[in-house]
C-alpha cells in the first residue's frame, strides 16, 4: 500500500495528527517516507472529499482528524485489499 491518501487515512485512524507527525508515523508503519508536497497533496484531496477535517489548533502545525466518511472509505478499501491479498495468496500456493 503506497497510495498517500490511504497512508494518511491509516495514520489518522489512530488519532489526530499534524503533517510531520503523520510523516513520521507513516514511515514507522509502512516504511514509506512521504515528502511534504506529496503529503499535502493527499491532505488536500482528502479534505476536499470530506474524509478528513482540520482540528482547531493555536499552532502553525495544523492537526487533522479522520471523519466518519473517511473511516468508512478506509474500511471499504481495506476489505477490497484483503480480498485481493487472499486471492493472490491462494493462487500462489503450489497445486
Amino acid at each position: 500500500m503506497t497510495d498517500p491518501t490511504l497512508l494518511v487515512l491509516t495514520s489518522l485512524a489512530e488519532g489526530d495528527k499534524h503533517g510531520y507527525a503523520m510523516m513520521e508515523d507513516i514511515q514507522r508503519f509502512a516504511d514509506v517516507r512521504l515528502g511534504p508536497g506529496t503529503l499535502y497533496g493527499a491532505i488536500t484531496r482528502l479534505e476536499q472529499r470530506g474524509w478528513i477535517r482540520p482540528v482547531a489548533s493555536e499552532d502553525r502545525r495544523q492537526p487533522y482528524a479522520i471523519t466518519g466518511a473517511g473511516r468508512e472509505y478506509l474500511e471499504e478499501e481495506l476489505g477490497r485489499m484483503n480480498r485481493v491479498a487472499k486471492a493472490a495468496a491462494q493462487r500462489l500456493k503450489p497445486a
Binding site: G35, T38, G41, T44
Partner: protein, 199 residues
C-alpha cells in the same frame, strides 16, 4: 536550499497557499531543507497546476490552431523548383558564366538561383528556377539554360512534387501554437478566478 524550497512553494496555486500555506511552511521546516524535499515540493506544485488546468480550453485552442493552420496550408499555393546543370569549356575563360548571365539578362533575377560547382578547369554551374506549376517551371529552367548558350550536362528536371508548403509541418505548428496559447489562457483564467475569490 531554503530559498529554493520557498520559491518552489510559490508554484502552488494562490488559493491553495492561502488555505494551506502556513501549515505547509511549518511542515517543510520540520522536514529539513534537502534536495528530496525540494524535488517533492516542485513535483506536487507542478501536479497541482496541471490538475487545475481546464483541458477543454486547451483542446479547443489546439483544434482552433489546427484548423487555422489547415486553412492557411490549404490556401498556400504549391511551389516547385526545377534544376538544370550547364558547363562552359575552359576556352570560354573564367568569366564566361558572368558574361553569359549578363547577355541573357539573368544576372539580377531574384527567381533564378545560379550556383557555381567546383570543377577544375571548367565553369560548371547549376541553375534553379521556382514556380507554382511543375511543367511551367521546368520549361522556364530549360529556356533559361538555353539562353546562356552553355553545354547542357543535365537538362531541366521535372519537379516530383512541391517543395513548399510542407502542410503536415504547418498543421503541427498550428497545433503546437494552440497548445501553448491554450495552456496560457487556462493558467491566466485560473489566476483570475483565484484573484476574484480572494477579492
Amino acid at each position: 536550499m531554503r530559498g529554493l524550497i520557498r520559491l518552489a512553494a510559490r508554484l502552488y496555486p494562490r488559493a491553495w497557499r492561502r488555505r494551506y500555506g502556513v501549515e505547509f511552511a511549518a511542515l517543510i521546516e520540520d522536514s529539513g531543507f534537502g534536495w528530496r524535499v525540494l524535488l517533492d515540493v516542485v513535483k506536487e506544485g507542478m501536479a497541482m497546476r496541471f490538475r487545475a488546468v481546464d483541458f477543454r480550453i486547451v483542446a479547443a485552442c489546439v483544434l482552433a490552431g489546427a484548423a487555422v493552420a489547415g486553412v492557411v496550408a490549404w490556401k498556400t499555393p504549391d511551389r516547385f523548383w526545377s534544376t538544370a546543370v550547364g558547363e562552359f569549356g575552359a576556352e570560354a575563360g573564367p568569366a564566361a558564366l558572368e558574361g553569359a548571365l549578363g547577355r541573357a539578362g539573368l544576372a539580377d533575377r531574384k527567381d533564378v538561383h545560379i550556383v557555381r560547382l567546383p570543377v577544375a578547369g571548367k565553369t560548371v554551374f547549376s541553375l534553379r528556377t521556382e514556380g507554382t506549376d511543375a511543367g511551367e517551371t521546368q520549361k522556364v529552367a530549360a529556356s533559361m539554360i538555353a539562353r546562356l548558350n552553355a553545354r547542357v550536362l543535365d537538362p531541366a528536371s521535372l519537379p516530383d512534387g512541391p517543395f513548399y508548403p510542407n502542410r503536415p509541418v504547418m498543421i503541427a505548428t498550428g497545433m503546437a501554437g494552440g497548445l501553448v496559447l491554450g495552456g496560457g489562457v487556462a493558467l491566466f483564467r485560473n489566476a483570475r478566478v483565484a484573484a476574484a475569490g480572494h477579492g
